[in-house]
Symmetry: C2
């Protein structure tokens, strides 16, 4: 449970920055070299590389050298964990809302 | 677009801490007084209140005084934004994967 939370917290931390969010969104189009990922960001390369490190440390991305180029790819199974967390929360609060509505329907029924 | 990203980044920042994640999960059971939310956390109250402030500033929760008690509730529409973001990313990478698979099927077909 603690590990699970920490792990989710690390995932959300990786996504808690606009640059890292934009990189994650860009990678949905497929693996890309660092230079292409960095191009839209008005940022010194070392700063950009730090963001990539955070994403990789959190398991959001993986990367490998191909010749002189480093290719970054999304780890979709890690993003799926985030989606599952939100889906489970929604299920819980929807169940609660349905139960509340049913309760109100019962208590507000006009007595016959 | 910038606002959208910042706003999502703020949502994920709110969820990037195990205490705040646990509070968010607890609130799926319905609105609760601060004291009950704080109880499971081995933390001084001022530190806990800081976490609640981060959640409220990011729009994850809302709160109101009822007499001498402050009641905290989840803003489910804000969590829905997070779920939508993950769902859209999954849609994009699934489409890409399907396209890649179709391409491989075509190129690897045995010539007749």
């Amino acid at each position: 449970m603690a590990y699970h939370s920490t792990s989710l917290a690390a995932l959300f931390h990786a996504l808690s920055d606009p640059t890292r969010l934009a990189v994650t969104e860009a990678l949905c189009d497929g693996p890309q070299p660092v230079s292409r990922l960095a191009a839209p960001h008005d940022m010194a390369l070392p700063s950009f590389l730090k963001h990539l490190k955070v994403l990789e440390a959190a398991g959001v991305t993986t990367s490998e050298k191909q010749g002189r180029t480093r290719i970054v790819a999304l780890r979709t199974e890690r993003l799926a964990e985030g989606q599952d967390w939100f889906a489970e929360r929604r299920r819980l609060w929807s169940d609660r809302f349905d139960a509340l509505e049913a309760h109100l329907d019962r208590t507000q029924e006009t007595p016959k």
